[in-house]
């Protein structure tokens, strides 16, 4: 069984890109789908951990197998959320998911005559595409383990850093990090980013600055930084142009 981790090269030849989307367009459409499932999930009291996080992973995996041209991101987003709710023991009725979507994004969803049927139908495609491999590990659990790893750090500082890293993990679902990097490594990278942002020094001077080496060997600083850049790219790109500006999908 695969661990559902793709090499970075695969992101250049996704089904959508092979079907004509540019890399920039696809990245934007991924963000839009994630924004939809995240906001609809919030409206239904779902949390990033675990339901929205799991739904986002399904979404990103799905579009490594199918193209955005074949399956609209707006319906896939709802099906991923609906399915994740059932898998994570926090099920929502399909009609409630669809009602929340129409309420929050009327311009996107009002045109669907039978949205419930579309979401249900796509669930079947999802299950086949994901091969019923529905259990997803998220970075949050690994992050909490690292909280105990820095006994020399001030307790308030480590709590602060973990909280910031938690927020970074929430936002990382808008990137493709979850399909290129294992959850534990995402936790490491984003905790490292939190330390850097706050100027915290997690290790003593004579210790290995790569504090994660005990758990993940041969993961150099530069690779950790590159993972951080995916999240930083998202912040920079959406600072000027928020995802789903005016609650409309982009068209090209």
């Amino acid at each position: 069984m695969s661990d559902w981790i793709w090499p970075l090269e695969a992101l250049k030849t996704t089904p959508s890109i092979r079907a004509g989307l540019t890399k920039e367009q696809e990245l934007l459409w991924r963000r839009e789908g994630i924004k939809l499932l995240s906001e609809v999930g919030n409206a239904l009291n779902c949390k990033p951990r675990p339901t929205i996080g799991v739904a986002a992973v399904y979404f990103h995996r799905f579009y490594m197998i199918h193209s955005f041209q074949s399956f609209s991101r707006e319906v896939t987003a709802l099906s991923c959320l609906f399915l994740a709710g059932k898998v994570e023991d926090f099920p929502k009725k399909c009609k409630d998911v669809c009602q929340a979507a129409v309420t929050h994004y009327p311009e996107i969803y009002s045109k669907y005559q039978n949205l419930v049927d579309d979401v249900m139908g796509l669930e079947r495609v999802l299950l086949h595409s994901l091969k019923f491999d529905l259990h997803v590990a998220l970075p949050y659990d690994a992050l909490l383990d690292y909280k105990m790893m820095f006994p020399d750090m001030n307790r308030e500082k480590i709590t602060d850093a973990v909280q910031i890293a938690w927020t970074f993990i929430n936002d990382s679902i808008y990137t493709t990090l979850c399909i290129t990097t294992e959850p534990q490594m995402i936790a490491i990278a984003l905790l490292h980013l939190a330390f850097t942002v706050k100027g915290y020094q997690p290790v003593q001077k004579n210790m290995d600055p790569c504090w994660w080496s005990a758990d993940v060997s041969n993961w150099p600083q530069e690779s950790v930084d590159k993972a951080c850049h995916l999240v930083l790219d998202f912040y920079a790109a959406t600072k000027e142009k928020p995802v789903l500006e005016k609650k409309k999908l982009t068209t090209f």
Binding site: W6, A19, L21, M120, V197, S223, H229, A236, A237
Partner: protein
């Protein structure tokens, strides 16, 4: 039977980190400006140029960066063995999704949204009915029917479980959870899910075939099992369950009907997910998990904050049952919640009424009503049934550790396997690979009488 992934006590959807008394985490960085976020003042043991590298980007024009985001990760970390694509699906089904694809008319102008894929050559799907021939119906419930079947390809025998679908909510989440969890549980003492078919508006699981369940086996042994068989079966139950618990998966419906046996005496956990949830859309944990006779007292009194200890009570009940041939706590069901008085009375009459000094948390349970029960003292198992002599004092001690009223006091599966009750087993039994049966060891193989 529900299995679920559990996490930290107090709820799986909230961070245990609190700030100003609240557990709500900021959900997006954009709404949480932290001091230092936009400066390059980071310091510490990390090399200075790396900090600059991260922050110099923040001040750069986004277009120059986001145009080629994937280019920034030119190397794959060496420790990752990433496949280029997931392997082919394990299911032989290739479903036709053509009717679900969105097709738009081509317009005069070039528009990527109107791109249509060239028609793909569809692989003829293999029909589950063409692959398997039904031999017998093994059982039927409200939500599934199980058939003994023969493979038309190689003659092997399997068990097909056909899930009845209710169309209101798509696939039932219990089936989704069973499929999801079993795909990650490969163990000699857990039933193997070979394949999944989703066709003809029906979901079919292909399981390895097992001869019978423990409940049926007990019907043939009304005075319980031999002492050695008790020990062999209990150890396998604990072994499979420990594997689940290490993966943070609770079975949540342990009972003899869900424990399968083969001709060689191998026991396997089964039925991970078909129990009916109480309701949708609230969270599905509830006091309705676990069949009544095997439900622990904390859950009977309304606790929803359970963990692996839930399953360990079930193990204790089963241990007692294979010893005597009869359920230890066969209470009757009342019509309202917490209408579990009879079940609780059965439990307390043997294990004693809760002692608030030993179990202070019991006072917080919504269904704790001490005035409804007589003051019971804990009985020895021999006093309950002389047949408990079969398991000797060590077995009775272990049984007591499993059937602690207080969930935190119940022994874990891992610790139970190390209990002196199993001292006669060879040490190597703890070193077997998960996929290896305990009967791989000659000493245990020779003990079998099933």
């Amino acid at each position: 039977m529900l299995s679920r992934v559990f996490s930290q006590k107090g709820g799986s959807t909230k961070s245990p980190i609190s700030k100003n008394g609240t557990n709500e985490m900021t959900q997006s960085w954009h709404s949480n400006h932290v001091n230092g976020a936009s400066s390059g003042s980071g310091s510490g043991s990390t090399p200075e140029h790396h900090n600059k590298n991260i922050f110099s980007f923040l001040s750069r024009q986004s277009r120059s960066r986001s145009n080629n985001p994937s280019e920034t990760m030119s190397t794959v970390p060496l420790n990752k063995n990433s496949p280029s694509m997931p392997p082919p699906p394990s299911s032989n089904t290739v479903a036709d999704f053509t009717h679900l694809r969105r097709r738009r008319p081509r317009s005069a102008h070039y528009d990527p949204n109107t791109i249509t894929l060239p028609a793909k050559e569809e692989v003829t799907p293999q029909d589950v009915n063409d692959l398997y021939k039904r031999i017998d119906k093994l059982g039927e419930g409200s939500y599934a029917t199980v058939y003994k079947c023969e493979s038309k390809l190689d003659g092997s025998i399997v068990a097909l479980k056909e899930i009845k679908l209710q169309f209101q909510e798509g696939l039932p989440f219990t089936a989704i959870r069973e499929a999801s969890l079993l795909r990650n549980l490969r163990h000699a003492n857990i039933v193997s899910l070979h394949d999944i078919f989703y066709q003809h508006h029906q979901l079919t699981f292909v399981f390895e075939y097992m001869k019978m369940d423990l409940s049926k086996y007990l019907e043939q042994n009304v005075y319980g099992l031999d002492s050695i068989d008790i020990k062999l079966l209990l150890f396998q139950l604990l072994r499979g369950l420990d594997f689940c618990h290490r993966k943070k998966i609770l079975h949540r419906d342990l009972k003899p009907q869900n424990l399968l046996l083969d001709e060689d005496g191998v026991l396997k956990l089964a039925d991970f997910g078909l129990a009916r949830a109480k309701s949708v859309p609230s969270r599905t944990y509830s006091h309705e998990v676990v069949t009544l006779w095997y439900r622990p007292p904390d859950v009977l009194m309304g606790s929803t904050d359970y963990s692996t200890s839930l399953d360990m009570w079930g193990v204790g009940c089963i241990f007692a049952e294979i010893c005597t041939g009869a359920a230890l706590f066969p209470g009757s069901k009342d019509s309202h919640y917490p209408g579990t008085k009879d079940q609780l009375d059965m439990i307390f009459s043997i294990r004693g009424t809760p002692d608030e000094k030993k179990w202070p948390e019991v006072k917080t349970l919504p269904g704790y009503t001490p005035e409804l029960f007589p003051r019971y003292r804990e009985l020895s198992f021999i006093a309950v049934n002389p047949m408990f002599t079969k398991i000797l004092k060590t077995g009775q001690e272990l049984l007591g550790m499993l059937l602690q009223l207080r969930p935190e006091s119940r022994v874990s599966a891992a610790s139970a396997m190390l209990h002196p009750y199993f001292a006669s087993f060879p040490r190597e039994v703890h070193l077997l690979a998960p996929s290896q049966s305990i009967f791989r060891l000659k000493e245990l193989k020779d003990l079998r009488s099933l």
